[in-house]
């Protein structure tokens, strides 16, 4: 299964806190079986956030966890017009990347997640995702820049 499909793109997250936003995004993983235990996964993500908030400068949030509740390495992309506080010093996050990895996942998939993490530091990549109009466009950008790069 690929890293992300159009079902895992949420272009207009409602204004809320980061835990609710994470739940909204994580729910998209349940429908097609990428996530087998939602509460366990949310718990693992929350633990990681409590260790150190994953908000980054430039309006980015990257909630993530390796969790037994996940069956396929997956990415959920969320966008919030008003921004959601993700603990970064310079303000709320408008681009949220929820990264879900299975406990002890295969090297090949972990390598793709590593590539994604590196791409997140690229301005042009972030700008393209900010400008994308449709879910299909988002998936295409990620497939082109990360999966097939």
């Amino acid at each position: 299964m690929s890293l992300i499909s159009t079902a895992q793109v949420v272009l207009d997250l409602p204004p809320t806190d980061r835990h609710e936003a994470t739940r909204t995004m994580a729910q998209t993983l349940v429908a097609d079986g990428r996530c087998t235990d939602l509460d366990l996964f949310l718990d693992d993500v929350r633990k990681r956030e409590e260790q150190m908030a994953t908000g980054l400068p430039g309006g980015i949030g990257i909630p993530h966890a390796r969790s037994a509740g996940i069956s396929t390495p997956s990415l959920v992309f969320g966008r919030s017009a008003s921004g959601i506080d993700w603990g970064a010093e310079d303000g709320p996050a408008t681009l949220i990347f929820l990264i879900a990895a299975p406990d002890g996942g295969g090297q090949e998939h972990l390598a793709i997640l590593a590539k994604l993490a590196r791409k997140l530091m690229r301005k042009d990549f972030r700008q393209a995702l900010t400008d994308a109009v449709t879910e299909t466009e988002v998936v295409e950008i990620i497939e082109r820049e990360v999966v097939n790069a």
């Binding site: 990681r48 260790q51 150190m52 994953t54 980054l56 400068p57 990257i62 993530h64 966890a65 390796r66 010093e89 990264i99 990895a101 996942g105 090297q107 972990l110 390598a111 997640l113 590593a114 590539k115 993490a117 590196r118 791409k119 997140l120 530091m121 690229r122």
Partner: protein, 498 residues
């Protein structure tokens, strides 16, 4: 300038790589070259040592201890948490450039002065860390157990095929790579047309591999604690532990001791002139001297005293001790699997063999049967436990469990050492009970044995072999049951906390 760096984070899937990208970009933007080693979950490609040596400065942006930090010794270093690199890559590059310039201008100043306080995070408890260290040692030892054990077992099988009736297994152990008796020296007299020599070849290679079990276990426990500097004191300490007959328990002691000593010596603040030779000369020299010196002088005498006391205790019981003797010998065989206690029991059995003469039901032959049956329990019990409940064991342990069937059947107790080294208390407790039951039952059934070694390959030499097999099966079942119960309790407790 040229920089190198290491990044790491607790989960190892996001920050590690973002920090690496941020540093490499910032370096490029400022006109420098930089190569970052990402110590994350997708595996890391170590930076070639030549690149490190050529670098002007090092940036550690990490939330976990840097692996093999020794490689970067003596370089001007900027040491921060992983998030700093993501949020402020250009500032770190500037800081590294300043540290490099400062070091070049003041060749005598210690590079450590350029370091802000390290941001190393220790998140694991003491128990978890101890288990991680032991598992590292065990995972490096397992291939030696499997290769050596299977070669020895194959040697027995082939010898038994050439000389049926069980005498092949007795004959094959007389051979060595060298031997004063040229007829049994493979180096002098290997004859490709003599099948027995091929069996002996398998046996001696297996025995050679087995000589590394304790050194490798000890060396890589120390490696887990102190990185590369732990290897020399750990391996030498393990070899000395073997020579002293201290077995794998001695190896656990030398491994932990070597790790802590090496870590301590590595932390010494030394003059710049000495720093260059620290990793190659000073650390191995000092840490090995301390570790092995302590082990020989402090633990040598207690181990010898223990063995003497056990031997005289057994001698006072005498070979006619019956079921009680079987129980005691069994417990000893199952206790430390090749360590001093096991060795005393085994020697007691084989010494009696020489005294038994040709009588078919001499009490000494019953003792030998009890000793061998009990020594087969631990590897077989663990093989059974890994088959019944694989989830309780790590993946390397499950693999080792498969080899343990053959090793146990061949009376190679070492097949159980990887399990016991990773989890000594639970495994040794189960093994002592199971082996003691088998020892006592073998005595009760009056089975006898005329061979010092060989397991099921000397079955024709076992008197009342049905009783022998029943005693063995009962002990194995009891041990496997105990292992599963003890491990499940632990397993559940861990899950409840997590």
């Amino acid at each position: 300038m040229k920089f190198v760096g290491v990044t790491s984070c607790p989960t190892g899937i996001a920050h590690t790589y973002m920090a690496a990208e941020a540093l490499e970009q910032a370096a490029q933007d400022a006109g420098h070259e930089m190569l970052v080693e990402t110590q994350g979950s997708a595996g890391s490609d170590p930076i070639p040592q030549a690149v490190i040596d050529a670098a002007d400065a090092v940036i550690f942006a990490h939330d976990l201890p840097v692996k093999d930090v020794q490689r970067f010794a003596g370089k001007p270093t900027v040491d921060v948490g992983v998030k700093r690199a993501i949020s402020d890559g250009p500032a770190l590059i500037a800081q590294a450039a300043a540290a490099a310039a400062h070091a070049q201008a003041n060749p005598d100043a210690t590079a450590a002065a350029a370091r802000p306080a390290p941001v190393t995070v220790e998140t694991q408890g003491a128990g978890t860390r101890l288990r991680t260290w032991l598992m590292t040692g065990v995972s490096y030892m397992i291939p030696f157990v499997a290769a050596g054990g299977i070669l020895i077992a194959l040697g027995f099988m082939l010898a038994g095929f050439i000389t049926p009736g069980g005498n092949g297994a007795i004959e094959v152990v007389k051979y060595g790579i060298t031997n004063p008796d040229a007829a049994y020296s493979l180096m002098d007299g290997f004859n490709p047309l003599n099948l027995m020599h091929w069996a002996a070849l398998l046996f001696v290679i297996g025995a050679a591999a087995f000589a590394f079990l304790v050194p490798i276990l000890s060396g890589f426990i120390a490696y887990a604690i102190a990185d590369r500097p732990g290897l020399v004191p750990g391996i030498v300490g393990g070899a000395v532990s073997s020579t002293m007959g201290a077995g794998f328990l001695g190896g656990l002691v030398t491994g932990l001791l070597a790790g802590f000593v090496a870590k301590w010596v590595t932390g010494w603040k030394v003059a710049k002139g000495v720093r260059g030779v620290m990793p190659v000369v000073v650390i191995p020299l000092v840490s090995t001297l301390i570790t092995v010196g302590l082990f020989i002088t402090v633990l040598g005498r207690p181990i010898k005293a223990l063995m003497d006391a056990l031997t005289s205790g057994l001698n006072s019981l005498g070979v006619g001790g019956g079921i009680i003797l079987g129980l005691i010998l069994g417990a000893m065989m199952g206790f430390d699997l090749g360590g001093p206690v096991n060795k005393v029991a085994y020697t007691f059995g084989t010494t009696g063999l020489a005294a038994a003469g040709t009588a078919l039901d001499a009490p000494q032959l019953k003792v030998m049967a009890a000793v061998m049956a009990a020594g087969m329990v631990a590897p077989l019990g663990l093989a059974l436990a890994t088959t019944l409940r694989p989830a309780l064991f790590t993946e390397p342990e499950q693999e080792n469990g498969k080899a343990a069937w053959l090793l146990g059947a061949s009376f190679i107790s070492e097949g159980a050492i990887p399990f016991a080294a990773a989890d000594p208390v639970r495994i040794m407790a189960s093994s002592v009970v199971g082996s003691a039951v088998t020892g006592a039952l073998t005595m009760a059934f009056g089975s006898t044995l005329r061979a010092p070694h060989g397991g099921i390959w000397v079955l024709p030499l076992i008197g009342n072999f049905l009783g022998f097999l029943i005693a063995l099966a009962v002990g194995v079942a009891i041990m496997a049951g105990l292992v599963v119960v003890l491990k499940s309790r632990d397993h559940n407790a861990v899950r409840a906390i997590a």
